[in-house]
């Protein structure tokens, strides 16, 4: 069996661009929610002085994450802002003093066993840096370590444009393997599979060179068929296991971790500097010179674009992430987040929305869906308001990878309908549950 996908343009213009550190911006806005889960609680207030790496937001609840200051300076305000998904989130705005003084709190963590390892990962504030933003320590908090047969390192980087993971593998290959050693030591994992798309020759070469010297590590070269980096797709293509619907990789004995996340963890163990800066690919048709830059988290997109060499033309659409799954930002004031791996600025031509025409029933959508869903039927069930049909059609499996919309010759907004259908299914299931409970009483 083979999982389907689509061949998207690569546009890896920045693969050879070694990341450059950008000048620290005058202010940064750090939202308290840059991860999946409960927002962190801000523990600084207006007027406080903060230093680089100082804890400013404390994880609130189990699935949450710590947040640290990315600059040294003064807290201007702790304000509410609208996140790009429309929700309101508390945000700490810091005026930088330009000195980038390190906080006294910073020291390499002392680690003796699995518990202290997970605690260190938790403190560092690291989340899934491939884009998902799921707190990494939650993923690593495995109750029964014997269940973990292998760790799959996600280095597919299947989205067009983005090369920040590629650069990690080239520039920080040492840390990727130090990360592997740490997981070996503290979690007892014996098998590691690094999944890389075949369009990254230099990165593959580096990883292979090091894996030859390390026991239990294999480099799995994947064809460049999007969405190779989707968690379930990657686990199937590297381990030949299907993660059940609603389940986690751990259900099939696997932990999936992004390559940059892993390398960050290793770096943190060495120097104790929490997650405060990100390597971001700046590209797109409106950008003057595509490149990779390292910026403090909270830098506004405006400052980032300026610092990366400026724009050729007024952007018509700007994305967090790649063009297949990225989020179109409402304004350039939005900050760079922990899980931002690219900012793509598109000119009017690239951003032009294609005209939607009637469905011609070609079936390309269902025949390219990695999970073999049928977006046409889902759209029909959604229109008919049938929660029952949506449940049968398994719309909740949809990871919104965008293959269906990409291949649709009628340019129908299939991902959009799937998203709405998922909400409808959730409502239907909740109503059903409520009904059952009522009957039970």
């Amino acid at each position: 069996m083979k999982l389907h996908g689509v061949r998207v343009p690569h546009k890896k213009n920045t693969a050879d661009s070694q990341p450059v550190k950008m000048a620290v911006p005058s202010t940064v806005s750090i939202p308290m929610s840059m991860h999946i889960g409960k927002p962190a609680k801000a523990i600084v207030k207006r007027g406080d002085t903060v230093k680089v790496g100082q804890l400013i937001g404390e994880a609130d609840g189990f699935v949450s994450s710590n947040i640290h200051s990315s600059v040294s300076g003064k807290v201007l305000k702790v304000d509410e802002m609208t996140a790009s998904n429309g929700s309101k989130v508390s945000c700490v705005v810091i005026e930088s003093d330009g000195k980038q003084e390190l906080s006294e709190e910073i020291a390499p963590p002392k680690i003796s066993d699995f518990e202290s390892f997970v605690a260190a990962v938790k403190y560092s504030g690291v989340v899934g840096l491939g884009g998902a933003g799921f707190p990494s320590f939650v993923k690593l908090s495995v109750k029964d370590l014997s269940k973990v047969e292998a760790v799959v390192i996600n280095a597919a980087e299947c989205e067009p444009y983005i090369t920040s993971d590629t650069r990690t593998m080239i520039d920080k290959s040492k840390y990727v393997f130090k990360g592997i050693e740490a997981l070996k030591k503290y979690m007892g994992v014996k098998r590691f599979v690094i999944g890389i798309e075949n369009n990254k020759r230099e990165a593959i070469h580096k990883m292979q060179e090091l894996s030859d010297q390390t026991e239990g590590v294999e480099v799995h070269i994947l064809p460049s068929v999007y969405p190779q980096g989707g968690e379930k797709v990657l686990v199937f293509n590297t381990m030949n296991r299907i993660i059940p619907k609603g389940g986690l990789p751990l259900d099939v004995g696997v932990i999936v971790i992004n390559v940059t996340t892993l390398s960050f963890i290793a770096e943190y163990l060495e120097n104790g500097i929490p997650l405060i800066e990100k390597c971001v690919t700046v590209d797109g048709s409106a950008v003057k010179e595509p490149k990779n830059v390292i910026v403090p988290i909270g830098t506004s997109i405006e400052d980032l674009l300026e610092g990366a060499g400026g724009l050729k033309t007024e952007p018509a659409k700007v994305l967090y992430g790649g063009p297949m799954m990225g989020i179109a930002v409402p304004s350039l004031k939005e900050p760079v987040l922990k899980n931002t791996n690219a900012i793509i600025a598109m000119d009017a031509k690239e951003a032009k929305l294609p005209k939607t025409t009637p469905c011609i029933g070609c079936g390309e959508c269902t025949n390219h869906c990695p999970f073999r869903l049928d977006p046409r039927e889902i759209a029909r069930a959604y229109r008919l308001n049938s929660g029952e049909d949506l449940q049968k059609l398994c719309v909740d499996l949809c990871m919104e990878c965008g293959c269906c919309s990409f291949v649709c010759p009628a340019n129908r907004p299939l991902v959009q309908t799937n998203k709405l259908a998922k909400i409808k299914l959730r409502e239907y299931l909740a109503a059903q549950k409520a009904g059952q409970e009522k009957e039970g009483k």
Binding site: L3, V6, V8, P9, P160, I242, I243, P244, K245, G246, G247, D251, V252, E314, P315, A316, K317, V318, L319, P323, M324, M325, G326, I327, A328, V329, P330, S331, L332, E350, A351, L353, P354, T357, P358, C359, I360, G361, C362, G363, T366, N367, C369, P370, F371, R372, D374, E377, L393, C394, L397, E400, G402, S405, F406, P409, A410, N411, V415, K419
Partner: protein
């Protein structure tokens, strides 16, 4: 600062549109169109022109009347016109060709909701209606311009009647230099077009291969001349261009295979035991009617993995 566009991902799309697909189908039909002019003379061009013009005009006017979006630019009406013309004898009165085109576009396509919504192939259904309405002119087979006779039987009719003397050779069948509908005779041109569509991935191999293989196998079992059955009549035109229509056929691989086998069986039934010499059109129409059921049976199964 301009307002930024906010839209749901993905933010890029593939190059293929309905229009480019239809354009590819038109390109694939061109060799057969050129062959028809060479074989049957310039009147063939006139029939093709009338069919396309009337199809496009009907689509435009009907959509205008119903205040629907104009779908003429997607070129699907041009494809319908071409295919209908290919299914007519070259001597067809032009008003009858025009009538058929109106039926195809308005009755079969637009009344059911327009492109993508029709359940039967417009060109085939219109042809069948015309065969009933104008049975005389629809079966008046003109001989090729190179022949010294005026009228000629189709190869399948000759075979059905056992007139071995008037059965053309394989080479004649391949080149299409014999009586028949204007676009169906030249097997070589149709194969070229079919290969183009396969290479461009506009169609997949499943339907044509299942269709043609079924006819070949059944011909073999029934002791007929296999190659003759494949090249004579409308099989290649039907298998590559009509049984692969998106809206009226299943879209999954098994659905396509079942559809193709069904078409092949019905074609053979009509050819060998029916009253008519040819059954490709009816087989596709009948299978069109079964498409929703086949599609439901063969829908892709979501990959839910093991029980959780």
């Amino acid at each position: 600062m301009n307002k930024l566009i906010s839209s749901v991902s993905p933010h890029i799309s593939g190059k293929r549109t309905t229009q480019t697909i239809m354009l590819d189908v038109i390109i694939a039909l061109l060799p057969a169109a050129i062959a028809s002019v060479i074989i049957f003379g310039l009147r063939s061009l006139l029939v093709i022109g009338v069919c396309i013009a009337v199809c496009v005009l009907s689509e435009f006017l009907f959509e205008k009347l119903c205040q629907r979006d104009n779908t003429v630019p997607d070129l699907s009406a041009v494809v319908t016109g071409l295919l209908l013309a290919f299914n007519l004898p070259v001597s067809i009165p032009l008003w009858q060709a025009a009538f058929g085109s109106i039926v195809a576009i308005i009755v079969v396509k637009q009344l059911f909701g327009g492109i993508g919504q029709n359940f039967a192939n417009p060109a085939i259904t219109a042809r069948i209606i015309m065969m009933t309405a104008f049975s005389g002119t629809m079966t008046a087979w003109t001989a090729p311009v190179t022949a010294d006779t005026v009228s000629s039987a189709t190869p399948l009719a000759a075979a059905a009647k056992g007139e071995i003397a008037s059965m053309p050779s394989y080479l004649t069948l391949l080149l299409g230099n014999h009586g028949g509908c204007l676009g169906e005779t030249c097997a070589l041109a149709l194969l070229l077009g079919g290969i183009y569509l396969l290479a461009k991935r506009i169609i997949s191999w499943h339907t044509p291969v299942a269709f043609i293989a079924t006819v070949a196998l059944m011909s073999l079992i029934c002791g007929k001349d296999v190659l003759y059955q494949l090249m004579a009549g409308g099989l290649l035109l039907g298998a590559f261009f009509m049984a692969t229509d998106y809206a009226t056929t299943p879209s999954t691989k098994w659905g396509k295979i079942i559809f193709g086998i069904g078409c092949g069986l019905i074609t053979v039934l009509i050819r060998f035991w029916g009253n008519l010499p040819e059954g490709v059109s009816f087989s596709i129409l009948l299978m069109n009617l079964l498409t929703p059921y086949i599609a439901k049976m063969t829908r892709n199964k979501p990959l839910v993995g093991g029980a959780k």
